[in-house]
Structure formats: C-alpha cells, structure tokens
C-alpha cells in the first residue's frame, strides 16, 4: 500500500492555487486544497476541486486529429503541424496578417505565452494577441 499527497499548482487559471493530489498506489484518486498554500489558504473553486478528473479521462485528447472528409482522424504530429502552418500561411497571404488572431492561455507557463506572442507578432505579423479569459 502506498498513499501520499503531492503538492502542485492548479493548471486551470492564472491564480496559482496550491492543490494536493491524492495518489493511491501510483493512481491519481482525488484532489484537496492545500491549507499551507499562501494563495488559496485551503480553499478552491469547483474547477480546482475536480482537477484530477481530466487527467485520467478516456475523453482526453492524447494524439493530434486532422479533419478529413468532415470527420476527425488521428494523424502524426508532423502532418498536423504542416497542415496548420500551410493554412496559416495561405490565410495570411490571401487576407493579410491582421486576419489572424491568437489567444494565449493561463494554463501555459510565462515562457510559453512569451513564445506565442513572439510568434504572433514576428512570424504572423499582427498584434492580435490576447488572453483566453477575454473569450
């Protein structure tokens, strides 16, 4: 029998609440608010309380999907990235860079968000970059 709780940061929004993940024999079985975390002091919202559910969910997207003939089909990363890059280039050339906008995410790190705005401004050539919470 092995049971422990592992301190981590909630992945949902930018607040950064401390969460204890309950791990029983290597399986994630629950989540608790961390009492000693200075941000949330033992409290959570409904999303934080259920954060463990998506990790083990069979509906979780684990491989890239590409829509072919109206249905989503599994593809390789290379195929999916090539398709996204080709379509973005095509739209940019036909409609101009300001026809494209990008949303950054609170679930990503600062560094990832920095990279996205850099990509948006330099590679695409638009200032249409915003935060997912504005959706």
């Amino acid at each position: 029998v092995e049971f422990k709780t592992v301190l981590t940061t909630c992945p949902y929004c930018g607040c950064g609440c401390g969460i204890l993940l309950e791990v029983l024999d290597g399986q994630l079985v629950g989540a608790l608010p961390a009492k000693t975390a200075p941000v949330n002091e033992g409290k959570l919202c409904v999303k934080g309380w259920t954060v463990h559910e998506f990790v083990m969910s069979p509906r979780r997207l684990a491989k890239p999907l590409v829509r072919k003939d109206g249905t989503l089909r599994e593809s390789s990363w290379e195929e999916a990235l090539n398709l996204a890059a080709a379509r973005l280039r095509e739209i940019k050339e036909r409609e101009g860079p300001d026809s494209i906008a990008m949303f950054a995410s609170a679930k990503c790190t600062n560094e990832e968000n920095y990279l996205l705005q850099k990509f948006c401004r330099v590679a695409i050539g638009t200032n249409n970059i915003d935060h997912c919470a504005r959706l």
């Binding site: 422990k4 024999d25 608790l32 608010p33 000693t36």
Partner: protein, 263 residues
C-alpha cells in the same frame, strides 16, 4: 509534541498490528496527508499546526475510507483529534469503516484551538498526546439565535448569497460518503447553474448533516465565501440533541434518528 505520537506509531509498526499510519507529513514548509509505512518516514510527521494550532488539518477519515475500500483486510492506524474520533464512531455505525480494522491514535487539542472551534469535547478517548481539554463555551449559535426569526432569515440569506457553488463544503466533509448526492439532484436543487438556489442548496446540506456532523469545521475552513457553515451545522446538532436526545459521535452503538429505518 509529536514525539509521543511518533513513539506510539513506531511501537505499532514493531508489533505488526498495522502496516500504515495515516497522518500528516511536513515537507518544505507544507503540511499534507500521508500514509506512513516506516520508522524513517516518521521524521517528517506533523500534527497539523502550521501558523496557528490545528490550522492545517485535513479530512483523514475520508482518505481512510478510500484506503479501506481498496484494502478491506488491512488494518490502518490514523491520527485523530476529538472531532475525528467522533467521526470514526459514526462511520463505523454507518458501515463506511470497520472498527476492528482501524487503530485511532489520539491527539488532544490545546485550549486555544478548542475555544476557536467552540468544541464540545476537544480530545479523543484514545488520547496519546496533547491535553485532555475542557468543553469550550458555545457563543456563535446563541448570538445568531438572538437575532429573532426575521433577523436570522435575513442573516442566513445574505450569507448563502455569497456561495459560488464550489461544493468545497461537501467535498472536504469526512462524513459525506453518499454515492448519490442530493446537491446534484435536478429535482431538488437546480443543477448546472450558478449561483445555487438560495436557501434550498444550503438547507438541503444542513438537513443531511443530521446525525452526521461531528463539528470538525473543515467545511467552514474550505469555504471561499467565508459562510459560517460550522455555526449552521452546530445549530442542526443542537436541534438533534434537544429533540431526539442524540449526540453525534459520542457512542459506538446508539444510532442517529436518521439512521433508524425500522419502526
């Protein structure tokens, strides 16, 4: 203070009576639940005191139920304060845990904590360490009772109005073990909507605390809206005590009024 508990658990390990002690572990300034399985691990034992006495308590009995469900034949030791021990007694009666498979390791609460909790019995019978403290005065329920019927209704409506429906009170509760929860019943409280129906949502939960609430206060500590849930459930407990003569968690055999199905 934890030295006595540590020695007690070491002796339990040595006797072979249990393979695991469910308690609290301190690591990098944080306190978290943990199943201790060796003497060495016990160096990190915590009793749940972070900045203040007992401010880092967790629903250990709830975690114990999860362990017992997966390992029904194992015996586990568990750290209990007065409230947790009352919880164990009820959970045995509700058949969520088996008494012969649980070894309570008792910790008494200091006066400071007992007063903050307005605790009826701030120590467990299985006391290993900590004081055998005395009953603290109950002031908060009397204060709200003094508001009169209309004042009380206005008070609670305003408190419940802040609810963001995080379900934290239910999720953290060591006495909430139903497979189907009334708070997720479409016919009783609107599901999928925020804020929750006021006061139906909170009164539904309060009614379900009859004969269950052992006054650990974890619900109130988990509430992001600072709703005085503990005071609400204390009142429920008072009513059960006055009307039915039943005190939740004080005996190992007497069943609560909501427990008795036969006539």
């Amino acid at each position: 203070m934890s030295e006595k508990i540590r020695e007690h658990v070491r002796a339990l390990f040595a006797s072979g009576r249990t393979k695991g002690f469910l308690g609290l572990r301190e690591e990098n300034g944080h306190i978290m639940p943990h199943l201790f399985c060796s003497d060495q691990e016990l160096n990190h034992l915590s009793l749940g005191d972070h900045v203040k006495s007992g401010d880092a308590r967790y629903p250990l009995n709830q975690l114990l139920i999860q362990l017992a469900m997966k390992y029904p034949e194992e015996t586990f030791a568990v750290l209990v304060r007065g409230c947790d021990e009352r919880g164990l007694k009820e959970l045995f009666k509700w058949k969520q845990l088996r008494a012969e498979k649980v070894i309570p390791v008792g910790l008494g609460c200091p006066d400071e904590l007992a007063r903050a909790c307005e605790c009826e019995k701030p120590f467990p019978d299985s006391l290993v360490d900590g004081p055998r403290g005395k009953k603290a005065d109950s002031l908060k329920v009397a204060c709200i009772d003094g508001l009169g019927l209309e004042g009380r209704l206005a008070f609670w409506m305003a408190e419940f109005d802040r609810c963001i429906k995080c379900f934290g009170c239910r999720n953290v509760c060591p006495m909430c073990f139903c497979n189907q929860c009334s708070l997720a019943e479409e016919g009783l409280v609107g599901t999928g909507e925020v804020p929750p129906a006021n006061p139906t949502f909170h009164l539904a939960r309060a009614v379900h605390m009859v004969g269950r609430c052992i006054d650990c206060g974890l619900c109130e500590e988990a509430c992001p809206a600072d709703i005085p849930l503990r005071t609400l459930y204390k009142k429920v407990t008072d009513i059960v005590s006055e009307e039915f003569g039943y005190r939740t968690g004080y005996t190992a055999t007497e069943k609560s009024p909501f427990h008795i199905i036969e006539g």
